[in-house]
Symmetry: C2
Subunit: 166 residues, 2 copies
């Protein structure tokens, strides 16, 4: 609960690497997400390679923090695994959100970078990571140990809550 409420987008990181067992926890959290018909239409590319991380900001305008990040996880959706057409985006978003919350719970900082449905970003990630046509790069999560600290942001807005009907 605390991890959900305290989570903020963290874009500055210490140089410390994220250990493999911690990365596995993030991936376990991701794959624990619900999906339509339990289709689990996801793949994850764990990017630690400095050259690849540095390449991303050349085509993705909001990803400058990757130059300092020790890790990014690219969440992808696989059309061949989809059982209920049109739900893979929601499934991959739930998996991405789980990564963010798990990162917060592990003392990491992370930020969700949108990829899909921006065609140039999808194409850029596809080319960079050699992703086949039936798989769509969906989101990129930049991860590291936080070098900035933000207070929880209370976004609760009573005006967005309706009772029984609009």
């Amino acid at each position: 609960m605390d991890a959900i409420l305290a989570r903020r987008s963290i874009r500055k990181y210490t140089g410390q690497a994220v250990p493999d067992d911690v990365i596995k926890k993030l991936l376990k959290a991701a794959m624990s997400a619900p999906s339509a018909y339990n289709e689990q239409p996801w793949h994850f590319i764990v990017i630690k390679n400095r050259q690849i991380l540095d390449e991303i900001p050349r085509f993705h305008p909001y990803s400058q923090m990757l130059k300092e990040a020790p890790l990014a996880i690219l969440v992808c959706g696989d059309k061949n695994l989809e059982k209920s057409e049109g739900f893979w985006v929601q499934d991959c978003a739930a998996a991405t959100e789980n990564i963010l919350i798990a990162a917060q719970a592990q003392g990491l900082g992370a930020v969700w970078l949108g990829v899909y449905p921006r065609e140039a970003l999808v194409a850029g990630m596809r080319k960079l990571c050699g992703i086949p046509e039936h798989v769509t790069p969906f989101s990129l999560v930049s991860v590291g140990y936080p070098a900035e600290h933000k207070p929880p942001s209370n976004r609760y807005d009573e005006a967005r809550v309706h009772h029984d009907r609009w």
Copy 2:
């Protein structure tokens, strides 16, 4: 972390009502989700009215559990609040996932029912709850105190993990 890993879809509930302060925690969790450009394009309809809950299974084939559920939260996306076109679905999915994890953390059971992009389900919810045209019913979360208990399901699959490239 435990709430993420232990969460399962719960479709059987005791008759106990969910207190308003607990519902508010679920909504706070939902609104703590990240969104593209922090656009927060969401609205939430808290449905406790028995007649409305009973009406939903008449057009939504996977919602029979609502006949026993004390509560459902309808997550909606508002086109007028969208700052980055095409991202509202991901934002609303992240908010929905936060409700599910928060429910688990609060000792509740919940299940995510897909609405968007199924036109018949969107139209059914729109009519039932009087939702205006610029707002799209996105997902429905059925919530209650659990009357079934499922062990955590380990969905981690090493085959879905790639390193640096596909």
